[in-house]
Symmetry: C2
Subunit: 140 residues, 2 copies
DNA sequence: TTTTTAAATGCAATTGATTGGCATTTATCC
DNA sequence: GGATAAATGCCAATCAATTGCATTTAAAAA
C-alpha cells in the first residue's frame, strides 16, 4: 500500500482509502477493467462506496496520468488500466474479450508475425491518431 | 437516389425511404456522423422519424456492410460512415473534432510525414487489433 | 392488380453507463 | 487540535442505445 500512497503523493493527490484500493485493484489485475468491474471488486473491501465515487476517482487518476482509459471498438463502456510508461497496443479477442498487451508498435505487415508469435489471428484493426490539425494549431 | 436503391437491392434490404435518405446523408457528408447527427439531418426531410428507427437502420446497414461504425477514444457515442472498400485510418483533431481520412496504413515513424503532408500534429495514437486468440481458435 | 406476409417503423418505456447537485466527511496544512 | 479545501455519499438526472408491441409497408404471391 506504501507504493500506491507514494504514487498519489507524487501526483499531488490526497491519499484516500478509496484511491489506494482502486490503485491496488488495477495493479493486481494488470488488465483493462470497466468502472463496474472495479466497483465490484472494491465493494468486497469497502462495502458502501457508490459507483459515482469510483468514476470520480478514475477521473482524477486519469487526469494525473496514473491511469489510462480506452474505448474499445463496439464496447460501450470505458475501460481503465494503470498507465504504462511506454505506450502499448493491444490484441483484443473477439470471442473471449481478453486483452493482450504488446510492446511492438505494429503495422499491417506485422499481422503475420502476430500470428506466429502470439497465435493471434487478426481479423481487423483500427489505428487512430489524435492531435491538432493545421487550422487549430494556427488559431492558438 | 437510384444509386442508393441499388445498394440496398444488392444487400437484399428493402428499399425504404428512411434507408435511402440515411444513405444519402452519409454519402453527402462523407465523414463520421453520430446517430444523433444523422437524425437531425433526417428530420429536415422526414420530420417524424424517431431516433430508434435511425439506430435500427444503421444497424441493418452496418450488418450488410454498407456502413461502418467506430468508437473514437474519449467520445462515448458510436460514429458512422459509409463503408469504404479499402480500409482507412483517421486523423482526429482534439480541438475541432474533425476527422480526416488517410489512405496510408501508418506507423509511429509516419508521424513526421503526417505533419509535413497534412499539417497535422499528432499528440497520441491508438492502434488496436481485433481477431481471435490462440485458445479461442482451437475451441471452435 | 389485389392479397398476403414478413420485415420495417412509430411510439413509449427501459436499460446501462456516466454525470451532477448538494450536504457531509476527511486529509492535509497551520 | 482547528481551519479549509478537497473528496465522498447519496440520489436524481442525463445521455446514448435498446426493446416490446401495435401498426404500417415493401415485396412476393396469387
Amino acid at each position: 500500500m506504501k507504493r500506491y500512497a507514494q504514487w498519489l503523493e507524487d501526483a499531488n493527490l490526497k491519499k484516500t482509502e478509496t484511491r489506494l484500493k482502486i490503485l491496488q485493484i488495477l495493479d493486481q489485475e494488470h488488465a483493462f477493467l470497466s468502472a463496474d468491474d472495479i466497483h465490484q471488486r472494491l465493494l468486497k473491501e469497502l462495502p458502501k462506496v457508490p459507483i459515482s465515487t469510483v468514476y470520480r476517482v478514475l477521473e482524477a487518476l486519469t487526469q494525473h496520468a496514473l491511469v489510462s482509459s480506452v474505448n474499445v471498438d463496439h464496447k460501450k463502456e470505458m475501460l481503465f488500466e494503470l498507465a504504462h510508461e511506454h505506450h502499448a497496443h493491444h490484441l483484443i479477442c473477439l470471442t473471449c474479450h481478453q486483452v493482450i498487451h504488446i510492446e511492438e508498435c505494429p503495422v499491417e505487415s506485422l499481422e503475420r508475425s502476430m500470428l506466429t508469435k502470439y497465435g493471434f489471428k487478426i481479423e481487423s484493426h483500427s489505428l487512430e491518431f489524435y492531435g491538432h490539425c493545421k487550422t487549430c494549431q494556427e488559431h492558438r
